[in-house]
Symmetry: C2
Subunit: 471 residues, 2 copies
């Protein structure tokens, strides 16, 4: 793909990457010398150097002094799913497939590995129900009180406090409460882009984001997010220099579906690259709190000193999926966002705003998050072990540093969509890989949520999936 669209050094890099992915080049194997490659492909030695250094930055090659370039000892590609190649051509995901995926979400008879959420924690539900009862008692008039945008002030204060802890301080007046993160993204795009504009996203990215861009009639420009290194800043630089981009919409941490984390230095570079070109960055920080490592990763906004990063997030992934409470922090666009919110959904339900404000003010959220993260770490281990046992040899599995999903590249003849359909017939819900890109890549991928408890039913479901994946 890149060979048709990319620059010369990318064409060279692509050739090598394919050989690594296909297994023709093994870990620790020497890659063709600069001169051989230059002669074979018909490019200058300088171009080959550029290509090899690019692959080295991406962790695919190692350079050894006076010996040349070698496939990395533990090449990410050798153990984890491959990254997308860059593409500038806007396409769309099949609506029919998406409709099937959505209707599967409505089925209550499935082992549900298709929803990127954490398990309902009964202890937390008890606390939230207790807070709800308390709010009903103290404010019995709430059913007929509505809170116009920007939303409940005490809630916005709590959100501002939490954002400050992530390294991206904002004032409560910069925050607009929304019906979850997706509304925050939708309103931000509505304010920043006009139909026909191009929006830069990762590949792969959450399929709801691609659906939203299509719904708003925006074009998609994809840059690779590598399962182990996160967003490819080189590819991003290439994309923004070559195309007219109205906005970037990137996941802050633990890409859905790959679980990849973009290092701080790369985030800083991306923020700078976009700011230099006046391209606003909308970030989706929905998984930041679900880190397995000791540190919460910083959102892009933490590297922004120009106020051009818009941060969208919610409590849906860690506290209350059913509440639909999210927010957008956008210092430079609050007035337009208030107007947009008012004329689309008017307000976020009153009761949930009060309950979440109290929940966050109680100060027990961090303790809850610690427990959720511990459970997630256990889940990831058990799911991964079961998948390795059940799936055919050659299956590649992501090793996420956080978030709630696993990303699998299938080795054989069975593609992700066929496996998704076969799984449904066995009452198992997964997500087919091809909905996570507008480019048609990821046909051989599936996404499995590791957010639900690892029950015997889940183990059996994974065994069935593994069998189906053998074709």
């Amino acid at each position: 793909m890149a060979a048709r669209n990319g620059t010369r050094y990318e064409q060279v890099a692509d050739i090598i990457e394919r050989q690594i992915l296909s297994g023709s080049l093994k870990p620790n194997e020497r890659v063709p010398s600069l001169r051989t490659m230059s002669r074979n492909v018909g490019v200058s030695v300088g171009t080959v150097v550029q290509a090899y250094l690019h692959l080295e930055r991406r962790g695919l090659l190692d350079s050894r002094p006076r010996s040349g370039f070698f496939v990395a000892a533990r090449s990410p590609a050798a153990a984890s799913p491959s990254a997308a190649r860059r593409s500038r051509k806007p396409r769309t995901v099949s609506s029919k497939v998406v409709d099937t995926v959505l209707s599967a979400l409505n089925r209550t008879d499935l082992v549900a590995l298709n929803s990127a959420v954490t398990d309902p924690a009964s202890r937390l539900n008890g606390r939230l129900n207790g807070l709800t009862r308390r709010v009903l008692r103290e404010l019995p008039e709430l059913p007929n009180v509505f809170i116009p945008p920007p939303g409940l002030e005490t809630l916005r204060r709590e959100i501002a406090k939490r954002m400050a802890l992530t390294g991206a301080p904002v004032v409560p007046d910069d925050i607009v409460v929304t019906n979850g993160t997706m509304e925050a993204l939708a309103l931000s795009l509505g304010v920043l882009c006009k139909p026909g504009d191009a929006v830069l996203v990762e590949s792969p990215t959450y399929f709801g984001i691609l659906q939203l861009l299509e719904h708003l009639r925006l074009k998609v420009v994809e840059v690779p997010n590598h399962p182990e290194h996160g967003i490819d800043a080189d590819a991003l630089e290439y994309a923004v220099s070559g195309s007219e981009i109205a906005a970037a919409l990137l996941q802050s941490s633990f890409n859905n579906p790959t679980g990849a984390q973009t290092p701080d230095a790369v985030k800083e570079r991306i923020v700078r690259l976009l700011a230099e070109r006046g391209i606003p960055l909308i970030e989706d920080d929905i998984y930041g709190d679900l880190h397995l490592g000791p540190e919460r990763p910083k959102p892009f906004a933490a590297f922004d000193d120009s106020g051009s990063v818009i941060t969208c997030a919610s409590i849906s992934k860690s506290v209350a999926l059913g509440f639909r409470v999210g927010w957008v922090a956008a210092p430079r666009h609050t007035t337009e966002l208030i107007r947009a919110k008012f004329c689309t959904t008017v307000a976020t339900p009153t009761l949930q705003q009060h309950v979440v404000a109290r929940y966050l003010a109680e100060g027990l959220h961090d303790r809850h998050l610690r427990r959720v993260r511990e459970e997630l770490a256990t889940n990831f281990e058990r799911f991964s072990d079961a998948i390795v046992d059940a799936f055919p040899r050659g299956t590649r599995l992501s090793r996420p540093g956080g978030g709630v999903v696993l990303w699998l590249e299938l080795p054989g003849e069975v593609d992700g969509l066929s496996l998704f359909r076969a799984a449904l017939a066995h009452r198992i819900g997964i997500a087919p890989g091809l909905i996570f890109s507008a480019s048609g890549r990821y046909e051989r991928f599936i996404r499995i949520s590791a957010g639900v408890r690892f029950t015997p039913a889940v183990r059996r479901a994974i065994e069935v999936l593994g069998r189906l994946a053998r074709g």
Copy 2:
């Protein structure tokens, strides 16, 4: 305005209408003869006949056998606010004014006559809180349950039952639950129109609708809704024959702000006119239940046998403003609406869907509505009396058959926007007329909500408004 844009007969009609509105032609006065008018304006006698018959259909003129045409004995224009003239030129409402109106909604120090809602009924709030407690007890896992679109089935069944009672039966599978009516309208427009398309609306219409069209980058084509006769079907026919219209978005009953009701026969004609041209009709039936007369007015969908009418409504105006539960019934577009809902706000909060489903299933809703309507009738009477007493002579006041708002045309030098601003300084919230049309008409109008209880503070506020309206 019409003189510049309209056809010749409209230009003639406009000349007469202006004279009636300005008082130059009084009720029962003979209008210029066909021949005189033909000579003075320089059009054929046939054109004048067409103009006079048009004004007769609109209730402004009476024809008397062998005597000619007379201003109607009780011309609507003589007692009630004037209608808009037709206009095809798309414009927009000032964002600055809208921002001020929205920020006034956030002020808690106002006598709030600026929000088109009914009064919080404490008895109803008690029942809703009781139902909420019961749902929490029976389904303690709800905080972490989410209900993907189309939404809770038991709720959709109850909505379908109520729609059948209005004369527009649908099946539960044709309904998508939304975050209030505005989201229902936003999703419908998103599915039916592409940016740049023209959407036909009434003039005046709810300002949130105009803001929504602007947000979605849709153009506005306005047709008059007369305070006493409702939507002008002639003007609508003229508009759809002369312009490319992607969809019509009309209020089913009790236009906000005028309170006007469109007769069944006219609704039927409008549905037919639009269906003939393949123009889908999105109706906003938010006020239908708040009728003062004995019969609930029918929605447009009741006259539709082609499935091309999309009905949007909610419980926000009569049950629970703070719940944000609405719906859209669209037999031909359910799949696209589900997709659009999923990628914008994902789902409507779980708890409120359960509570509203139970509330409606309980069968006490009709009794509640009867009480709300009785209160509204009393409110309208008291508000109207107080306004007539307080406002300067020449003020024109609507006489709505339902809904929750009053529409005033000011006689003097004080325009609606100045009065709105002066009122805010006196801690009184009203809505300035000019936000209810993209055309710049209604500068001399204000909207006063009669949904809140008529307290001494409200009486004093109306007295202050009357004083301010004197300039």
